[in-house]
């Protein structure tokens, strides 16, 4: 989990270079970091390349993948 957390934070830090990524497992990136539809695409692409997975269609809404916990779930599912 720690590795995953670190990887996700790196992805977020690259998208929001001017913010400190101090975020709890259930904090929404939308509320806390101001993630919008454009930065969400960067997030999905970042997660895909960092963890070498394909994010499935059902996660293609910001609200489906806007917290650390939701991202852990996705990674758990995709990486078996």
């Amino acid at each position: 989990m720690e590795m995953e957390r670190k990887g996700i934070i790196e992805v977020l830090a690259a998208i929001f270079p001017n913010q400190t990524i101090d975020i709890g497992d259930d904090d929404s990136f939308i509320d806390k970091l101001g993630m919008d539809s454009i930065s969400f695409v960067s997030y999905v692409i970042g997660i895909e390349s960092k963890f070498d997975i394909e994010v499935p269609d059902e996660y293609s809404l910001p609200s489906k993948l806007d917290t650390l916990n939701k991202t852990y779930d996705l990674l758990g599912r995709e990486r078996g």
Partner: protein, 555 residues
Amino acid sequence: MQKEKPYKVKLSIMPFWSPLTPPMGIACLKSYLEQNGYSVRTKDYNAISSLFDFGGRYIALMKSYTPVDRMGNIAMVGYDVLMAHLIAYNNRDDFSLNDYHELVRQLILNNFFYEATDEAIENLCELVEQFYALLAEYLINDIKEKDFDVYGISCYSLTLGPSIFAFKFVKKYFPEVKTVMGGGIFADQFNSNSLELETFARKATYIDYFLLGEGEIILLNLLESNFKNVPRIIVSDKTVKKVCLDDIPLPDFSDFDMNSYPQLVAYSSRSCPFQCGFCSETVQWGKYRNKREEKVVFELRSLTKKYGKNIIVLTDSLLNPNIDKLADALLEVPPEERFYWDTYLRVCDMAEDMEKVKKWRKAGLYRVRLGIESGSQHVLDLMDKRITIEKIKSNLQNLADAGLKISTFWVVGFPGETKEDFHETLDLLREIKDNLYEVDPHPFYFYPSGQVDSESWEKIYGYESIYEDKYNEMLMCTYYKLNCQPCREEIYRRLELFRERCEECNIPNPYSLIDIYHADKRWKKLHKAAVPMLNDLIHSGSAIVDEYRDSIVLR
């Protein structure tokens, strides 16, 4: 300097209208009215992710209850259900809860042809309730200072429910504020000759004025009249002067957070010189007019410089009449300032000439949006589309060879479309699949007025309401179907077959930015000359890598 005018105006657009570009209509009105001395604030509620997201959540929820063989084009037809549901919510207190739930069941039945469970209906209603609770929070925040005297909403069919909600809301707190509705919904659904508009206007007592068609002059006239002796429904018809596109100011986007839109927006003309039977462009805009090329180029360069973005969606109904001259003018833009543009085009002789297509590509053409409509010559002729299947194929080949993204729109179930005709469409899809960046099929919609052929269909076939009277009351308007073949259920069955064929051929129908990202990856794999991916354009600033564009040498 103009003297400040007595009215402060607030103009908004409600969900669900994808924030792919900032809303052009209210940006045009803002600049025009401000040039005439009025103070105008604009707001796009679609740019608020947490609100806009509800649309996708509603579709995802509906998808989870919909049998696979009934899915059809749910990404689009699902919005038809949501749109009607959002309207009905506003009137639910005038009916029993049971009627409200029953209506939602009918909406699903008539769009997806299965009986939804109570659980599905309750959960969909709950989501709509949550959406409106959040919208109310934003609205309170925006209107509490009451810094406006006139409240206008730009409305499309897809945004009607939330627009009704906002009008009611404003009138409830500030009955003295004048409320005005305008926008694309008056192109077809609420066309000026329609009974629908009359019925809706009678019921929507919280809307003071309905302004139809091109808005600049009629809205200014309304304000200048001090709301004295003016009719409630005002139409920008033949009797009203149209704006000269060379004289009006640039649209004003200053109230929007431009970072929340991936693309810019501009236009070079209004209306269309053609008259396809199912279309309403000429009904909305009247006579075809265009801007001088130099003015368009100046606008595009100013926009890209000002907002540091390099992709512009042109909102012209059709660019064919200007595309070649515009491309010539854009070739003069210095390489360090170059950008891309995206437009509606019609299958045409020009695109048969690869040299021309390459020139457009060199000048920055990025994506073409083409109405293909059908793979059957018989249906294209019924539509008076004046294109041939052969020309469709050769146009697409040239455009794809130049790496342009090709978005295509299709009408399924046009009156008189036979099974054989439809199968020709499916065959064509398979044949040209690699030259299709995107395929967006629509069921045929009928409006008793507002389409070029509305009247003749009415005479030949007759039509009837899709829903019972009680439900039409709740929906504040009537949705119709023609009494002809293919019937409604068959149209939606064909839509499902259409979707299956696209799935089999791996042709996407991207709606969100993330879908576009996946579609762009496919396009790049298929075409060496492919234009840059949208995501790269959004993030690359001026450093765009496009080897094919650089390599084109024009004869």
